[in-house]
Structure formats: structure tokens, C-alpha cells
């Protein structure tokens, strides 16, 4: 494709044509020497149409540009409209990031753009494009492989950002599908999956149970128009990130022995759960458990050793004996 060959002008699809039109409006307002009258806006971008139609179109276009970070506002008086970029809301203020720091941020944050368990990856991709404004050179030649958010996850993120409730269809772990209205309170990623923490809304508008939902189990997500909500100030998403053996009611407390060289790693995996003590040379982690089977398996995977209760130690031992028996035979 030759960029400046008029004979080779590509056919633009609807999205591209609209984007170029809005880009033109953005370039114009960014370079305007002062406020622009509605008549001039109409003449430059909307052609001969009824003024009410132009006003509607321009308002819609301003909303779209605001979603990109460019806020065009009315600075006129009364019915004498005059339009200009809201510089405080739109443009960078204060001392900006150095080019080197911006590049370092881009390289360090970039892996999260490709991480399917980082629910804000699409927004981060666009944020980094504004932070590091280098779009040339060779440092971007690495392989790609970003997995974009699916439409339903994107709708959940949008609902969270705008604090708009959503009507959803959700399939639970047993495969049962049900409809409910949710207020999204937060997100987290775990074991390669995205989870949303949400409060269920009852018919009277009150909220009941707050629980975790797997983003890939929603089959529909529809925003509820003209409603917003607040997230309780005592809500912390970390309180809802459970370890795999903590799903369901607590049945026992487990005590694990952790090797000193593994402490930092296991603390990271533990997501803040449980208590840590040093007893002699031993590092002990005590944590609530719902499923002894899964706790035993998790302990093997993380190279930590259960000390109590006996039921957990026995389950852990049986699992290992099942694996080791092949070697003895």
C-alpha cells in the first residue's frame, strides 16, 4: 500500500470512515487558535444539514472524542455557542515523564497486555500508547499474541467503570444457567482466568450475596440503563480472592511447613491468607481450608509439607504414594 498514491486509495469501511472524520475534528480543534462557532463547525464537518441534525451529530461526536480523552466543551455565552478543547481535562499537565522512563514503563507493563488474567489488558494497551509516545524504531519487533477481552468481559469492565448494573446470564460450576442482576464491585485474575466480584441485586433493588464469578461463564451481559450504584467503602476485592482449597465453608485449619528459600514464593501464592510464624528454624503457615483433598494437592504443587491436621497429612501421603508406587513396582 503506497500511502501517497492517489490511484491506490483503499476503500474504507464504515468504522474507518467514521474514525477519520472524528480524527479530522480532533486535529482541527487541537490546532484552533480560539473558540469555534457552531456555524464554523457545521461548515467544516457536517455540510448542509438542518441545524438540529448537526447539533445532535456534533454532540455524539464530542462524546466519542471524550471517550478517547479529548474533551470539547462549550465556552460560549447563552445561545451563542463557541467550542474549544477543555485543556485541563484533555491535555497533560505538570512535569511529564521522561522518554526513558516512559519506555521502561512500557516494557515493564507490556506483559500484562498479553496476560489473559489481567482484565484491564485492552485499556492498558491504549494507556501505554499514550504514556510511551514512541511509534517508531526497532524495539517493538517482538512477537505478538495478545488475547483481547471477549465482548462479555468488556461489558463487565465497562459496567464497573461506569458503575452501571448489568443483567447477566451465568452458568455455574454445575452447568446450570440462571439470570440475575449484578453490581460489579471488582476484578481479579487467578490461575489464568478472570474473575469478577459482584453483588446480586434483588427485585426490590437491594443487594444480597457478594460472590466471585468466572468471566468466561457469562453467556450474556446487558447494562441496565439509567441506573448507577456505589461500591461500599468497606469492600476490598482481596477479601474475595480465595485459594483453590478455600471454596466453600471452612472445615479445618491446616498447618504447613515452608522451606526458608520458598517463603517469598509461597507468600506470593498465598494471596495474603493465613498467618506466618517462625518456630526455631521452621517457617509455619496456618490457613483455613475447605477442601482437604485440594489442599493436599496444592501443597505438593507448591513444595510445602502439611503438618496437621492428620486427615490432611494422610491425604497428602496417599496422593504421593499413588505417584511413587510406580517407581517401586
Amino acid at each position: 500500500m503506497d500511502l501517497f498514491d492517489e490511484d491506490e486509495e483503499p476503500r474504507l469501511n464504515g468504522d474507518e470512515a467514521q474514525s477519520r472524520r472524528l480524527l479530522s475534528i480532533a486535529i482541527f480543534f487541537q490546532n484552533a487558535n480560539g473558540p469555534v462557532t457552531s456555524d464554523e463547525v457545521a461548515a467544516r464537518f457536517y455540510g448542509p444539514k438542518p441545524s438540529a441534525t448537526i447539533e445532535r451529530s456534533f454532540n455524539r461526536d464530542r462524546k466519542r472524542l471524550a471517550l478517547c480523552g479529548l474533551v470539547i466543551t462549550d465556552v460560549g455565552h447563552g445561545s451563542d455557542h463557541a467550542w474549544a478543547v477543555d485543556k485541563d481535562a484533555s491535555y497533560l499537565g505538570g512535569s511529564s515523564l521522561s522518554d526513558e522512563d516512559a519506555a521502561v514503563l512500557e516494557v515493564a507493563c507490556r506483559p500484562l497486555v498479553s496476560d489473559p488474567s489481567f482484565v484491564y489488558r485492552d485499556e492498558l494497551r491504549l494507556a501505554l500508547a499514550k504514556v510511551d509516545r514512541c511509534f517508531s524504531g526497532t524495539r517493538f519487533r517482538e512477537s505478538r499474541g495478545t488475547s483481547r477481552l471477549d465482548r462479555r468481559s468488556e461489558a463487565l469492565v465497562a459496567s464497573f467503570t461506569s458503575r452501571t448494573p448489568v443483567d447477566v446470564t451465568y452458568r455455574d460450576a454445575r452447568g446450570r444457567e440462571g439470570k440475575r442482576r449484578l453490581r460489579v464491585y471488582g476484578f481479579f485474575g487467578l490461575r489464568g482466568r478472570n474473575y469478577v466480584v459482584a453483588a446480586r441485586m434483588d427485585a426490590d433493588g437491594s443487594t444480597s450475596s457478594i460472590r466471585d464469578y468466572r468471566c468466561d461463564r457469562f453467556s450474556s451481559v446487558t447494562p441496565v440503563k439509567d441506573q448507577t450504584y456505589e461500591i461500599p467503602e468497606d469492600f476490598f476485592v482481596e477479601d474475595h480472592i480465595f485459594l483453590p482449597f478455600q471454596i466453600g465453608p471452612t472445615t479445618t485449619q491446616a498447618c504447613f511447613l515452608v522451606a526458608p528459600e520458598d517463603e517469598a514464593r509461597v507468600r506470593g501464592e498465598a494471596c495474603g491468607w493465613g498467618s506466618w510464624t517462625k518456630e526455631g528454624d521452621a517457617i509455619i503457615w496456618r490457613v483455613d481450608v475447605s477442601s482437604v483433598d485440594i489442599a493436599a494437592s496444592w501443597a505438593i504443587a507448591e513444595a510445602i509439607r502439611p503438618l496437621s491436621p492428620v486427615e490432611l497429612v494422610d491425604t497428602w501421603t496417599r496422593a504421593l504414594e499413588g505417584v511413587a508406587s510406580d517407581a517401586r513396582n
Binding site: 500500500m1 500511502l3 468504522d15 474514525s19 477519520r20 486535529i27 487541537q30 490546532n31 464537518f45 472524542l65 471524550a66 471517550l67 485541563d88 484533555s90 497533560l92 512535569s95 522512563d101 519506555a103 514503563l105 515493564a108 506483559p111 500484562l112 489481567f118 484491564y120 489488558r121 485499556e123 492498558l124 494497551r125 491504549l126 501505554l128 499514550k130 514512541c134 511509534f135 517508531s136 512477537s143 505478538r144 465482548r151 465497562a158 459496567s159 461506569s162 458503575r163 471488582g186 485474575g189 490461575r191 447494562p223 469492600f235 476485592v237 514464593r265 506470593g268 501464592e269 494437592s297 504443587a301 513444595a303 509439607r305 501421603t317 496422593a319 505417584v323 511413587a324 510406580d326 517407581a327
Partner: protein, 317 residues
């Protein structure tokens, strides 16, 4: 905090996404000779080079009825650059609310403290006023440790300037940490763990290092050999059979791809980089999972026997 950006205000995703990309690129064209190449655009927006060229085409042809074009010239890289900053140009825009939350959440996850100078510069100049940092932490699950941010910073700088880093590293086969010098090619984040793909300068081999096992990470003056990211990750793919699918949900399996699923039995492929991570996870399935690699399965059995041997005195306490 205002929450005006909602699903109700969103147009079609494709159109709005293109527009957001275009405005980000426009913001980079504010000085003479600022350049945009299709290669960089394709990489940063995860689009094809053809799509990147179409974005550049939209930039070059944007105008109003009287034709106020951006003054651009063609570059050697099939991109464009701004002729002059004295006429029409772009202006960089602030991050939107959702972009701000995404960036703050990413910095939290990496472990960058709010007192970090670069983070403060972003907070002061780029983010949307009114986004509450404490609220982001409360709702977006910060996980990172400051040491992760510090080591990532060193690795990122080494990637950018091509310098070697030295570190002490305890690999899965090492009894004690030992000093290594590596040329970083890229960093990755999978299942909550940060990895560095690099060339080991002493052995010459391509290796993957876990960031949380790296200590005393220091950037040296020595230049690394040219990066070869295409060959940086030397892994082989194993097939693993699962007789109990619960373990697919309860344990982390980075890169696993299910290839068939029948009546509670799952066959999957997973990359294996060496070490005992994968054997240990297979052992954690209690004999209900098998890999198609006899060496790996021998390691699975050895791990189980070693654990049982070591456990006898400990669990009898």
C-alpha cells in the same frame, strides 16, 4: 470520582477502538520529525502491518472541508513523520478514567510504589483528575512486591539499552544460588509469575528465568549480543492426560491447551521449559495425570519419593 464512561455511551467497539488508537498516535506527532512506523504500530496495537498502514493512511488523509492536513512526509520505514511543529500537529491527551485505572492496576500488580518518581510523574501529569488511587487498590487486587518492580525496572532498562545484567540465581537444579550474566530479550507474566527470556552469557544458551528467584539484579556496562527474541524461549511441548479434571481448575497450568475432552478425561498440551515445576504439578494430581515423556514421569516419581522420605520425621512431630 465521576463514572461517565459507560457501556451506554459506547459506540461500536471497532470504530471507537480505531479512534482511540488514532488519537494516541496523533498525540505522538507534536514535534518536527516525530515518526510513526507501521512495524511499531502493529506491535503496540497488536494488529497486522496492513492494518497499521491503513491507520497511517487515515492519519495522512484526515482533513476538513478546507483541507487542513497534518504536514507529514514519508520515512524509510514506510511510515510518516511530522514536517514541522510550527503548523498543524497533534497534542498528547490525558488517560481516560478506564485507562487510568488500568495503568494504576498494572503498576500495583508490578509492585511499583506510589512514591516512585516515574509513577508520580504519571499521576501528576497524565491521569484523569479525580481517580482515587486508594479505591483502585481496594477494587483491583494489588499483588506486586516492590522487589519485583525494582528487578523489572533493571531488566526493562537492559532490554532497552542492550546491556547485560548480572544476578544470583538458584535454578531448579542448583543447591545454592550462583552468579549469572544474562542478556534479557523480554519479560513475560503468566499465572501470576514474572519470567525473563534471556541468553545466558556464560553458557550461550537461551533460558527462561523466574524473576522471583533472581537476587542482586544489577545492570552492567557490558553490551549484550544482539537479541534473538524469536529463539529466546526454548521449550518443548508435552502431552498430558488428566483422568481427574478437578486439577485443571485447582492448579495453575501456564500455557496449557486442551486438545480433547471426553467423559471426564482431558488431553492437553503444555510447554515445558525444564526444571521440576511441571513434574511437581503432575505429582500433585495424585497419580491421575501422566505426561508423554518418560524422563518427566521419572522426575514425577522421584519428587513423590523424596517428599515421602523427607516427611517421615517432620509429620511425626
Amino acid at each position: 470520582m465521576s463514572h461517565g464512561q459507560g457501556a451506554g455511551n459506547r459506540g461500536r467497539k471497532g470504530g471507537l477502538e480505531r479512534l482511540r488508537e488514532l488519537l494516541a498516535v496523533l498525540g505522538s506527532l507534536d514535534d518536527a520529525n516525530d515518526e510513526v512506523s507501521p512495524t511499531a504500530l502493529a506491535s503496540r496495537f497488536d494488529i497486522s502491518e496492513d492494518q497499521a498502514k491503513r491507520l497511517i493512511y487515515l492519519l495522512t488523509t484526515a482533513s476538513d472541508e478546507s483541507g487542513s492536513w497534518l504536514p507529514l512526509y514519508l520515512t524509510d520505514e514506510e511510515g510518516v513523520a511530522l514536517c514541522s511543529s510550527d503548523s498543524t500537529r497533534g497534542r498528547p491527551c490525558r488517560l481516560t478514567i478506564s485507562e487510568t485505572m488500568a495503568l494504576m492496576s498494572a503498576l500495583d500488580q508490578i509492585g511499583v510504589p506510589t512514591s516512585d518518581p516515574a509513577r508520580m510523574a504519571v499521576s501528576h501529569s497524565m491521569v484523569t483528575p479525580g481517580v482515587d488511587q486508594e479505591e483502585v487498590e481496594r477494587l483491583m487486587a494489588p499483588q506486586g512486591h516492590p522487589s519485583t518492580a525494582r528487578d523489572l525496572d533493571v531488566c526493562a532498562k537492559a532490554i532497552l539499552d542492550g546491556k547485560v545484567i548480572s544476578m544470583s540465581y538458584r535454578g531448579t537444579a542448583d543447591a545454592e544460588p550462583r552468579v549469572r550474566r544474562i542478556a534479557c530479550h523480554r519479560v513475560r507474566h503468566e499465572e501470576g509469575t514474572w519470567y525473563v527470556d534471556a541468553t545466558d552469557m556464560d553458557s550461550g544458551g537461551e533460558r527462561t528465568f523466574r524473576l522471583d528467584r533472581m537476587g542482586n539484579v544489577t545492570r552492567e556496562d557490558m553490551m549484550a549480543r544482539p537479541a534473538t527474541p524469536e529463539s529466546a524461549t526454548h521449550s518443548r511441548t508435552l502431552t498430558v492426560e488428566f483422568d481427574d479434571v478437578r486439577y485443571l481448575d485447582s492448579l495453575a497450568w501456564p500455557g496449557l491447551r486442551v486438545t480433547s475432552r471426553t467423559d471426564g478425561h482431558v488431553t492437553a498440551e503444555i510447554p515445558y521449559y525444564g526444571g521440576d515445576w511441571l513434574p511437581r504439578h503432575i505429582a500433585a494430581c495424585g497419580g491421575t495425570a501422566r505426561a508423554d515423556d518418560e524422563q518427566v514421569m521419572a522426575q514425577v516419581r522421584r519428587i513423590a519419593m523424596d517428599e515421602l522420605t523427607r516427611a517421615r520425621p517432620a509429620t511425626s512431630r
